[in-house]
């Protein structure tokens, strides 16, 4: 399951990179834009992996137009699944709650996930060079999971690449954001968990159409 809202600049930026580089490797359900809503999220079978972009707080994760999708008090059936939440602070309470509810493994963040993006790239967010230094490590983390490798490897790919990008980044603000995200990334549950490998896709595919950006 992929949950990819597109309703504001940060969700559009993060979801845009996953739409470009991850969605082609996955099957349905892919809840993109308005489809990323509570009714669909709650009623669909999850498969073996849940990858969600969205606004978050310690105990909740939100979808399109900030509909609440996950809450520590009402966790759906996540038994034996791996969960990646590209969101803020969910590693404090929601991540542990998911593991307690039976999720095999979880990757998320203890603090805000912060990055610099180009607001003029909202129509084709995957081409945003400012955001790429923060979002491509996330893409590579998710694709490592979809390669069938263990969560510990995926986590290491993400954090190592963030720190590597920070080391060569010319802009200090972008570099500080990268180090902040790497420092606050969190892997919970079984680090040796893995999911069924998906076929690799030769990139680049033609960019997909996106819902228009209506702030």
């Amino acid at each position: 399951m992929l949950a990819l809202p597109l309703h504001d600049l940060p969700t559009r930026s993060a979801s845009g990179f996953l739409i470009r580089y991850v969605v082609p490797r996955t099957g349905p359900p892919q809840l993109v834009g308005p489809l990323d809503n509570k009714a669909l999220f709650s009623n669909l079978a999850f498969g073996d992996v849940v990858i969600g972009v969205g606004h978050g707080e310690p105990n909740r994760f939100y979808g399109y137009r900030n509909q609440m999708l996950l809450d520590v008090s009402s966790i759906p059936d996540v038994r034996s699944k791996v969960v990646v939440l590209i969101s803020c602070q969910t590693a404090r309470q929601l991540g542990p709650a998911l593991i307690k509810a039976g999720a095999e493994s979880y990757i998320g963040f203890l603090e805000d996930l912060v990055w610099v993006m180009d607001a003029d790239s909202a129509a084709n967010p995957w081409a945003d060079k400012f955001a790429g230094s923060a979002m491509m490590p996330v893409v590579h983390c998710v694709n490592t999971i979809l390669d069938g490798k263990v969560m510990a490897d995926a986590f290491a790919v993400m954090t190592t690449e963030m720190l590597g990008n920070a080391a060569v980044e010319e802009d200090d603000l972008i570099a500080s954001c990268l180090r902040f995200n790497a420092k606050n990334a969190s892997l919970l549950g079984n680090p040796m968990a893995r999911v069924k490998a998906r076929p690799k896709v030769a990139f680049p595919l033609p960019p997909p159409p996106l819902f228009p950006f209506m702030p």
Partner: protein, 87 residues
């Protein structure tokens, strides 16, 4: 790739969030921006974003507007301290 302006901004962000410290941090960010000119790159609008929910600070703010927000919003000052001041 730290420079002197950035180091001065970090020092300013490590102070308690008083109006004086917030004004100093804002000024340091303006000086940093004058040197780095991230917001002046043609054909782009660099924006600091996060996936936080219902924060007391904006989850999307143009880089050129950061000094003003630093000057008036203690919550944003604290957030920038976490990201930059403690880096």
């Amino acid at each position: 790739m730290a420079n002197a302006e950035w180091e001065r901004l970090k020092e300013a962000l490590r102070k308690p969030a008083t109006p004086e410290a917030m004004a100093e941090a804002a000024q340091r960010f303006r000086e940093y921006e004058r040197v780095k000119r991230l917001s002046g790159k043609p054909g782009s609008k660099p924006t600091l974003v996060s996936l936080g929910f219902r924060k007391d600070y904006p989850t999307q703010i143009a880089v050129r507007d950061i000094p003003g927000e630093l000057e008036r919003n203690p919550a944003f000052f604290e957030q920038m301290r976490k990201i930059v001041g403690e880096d």
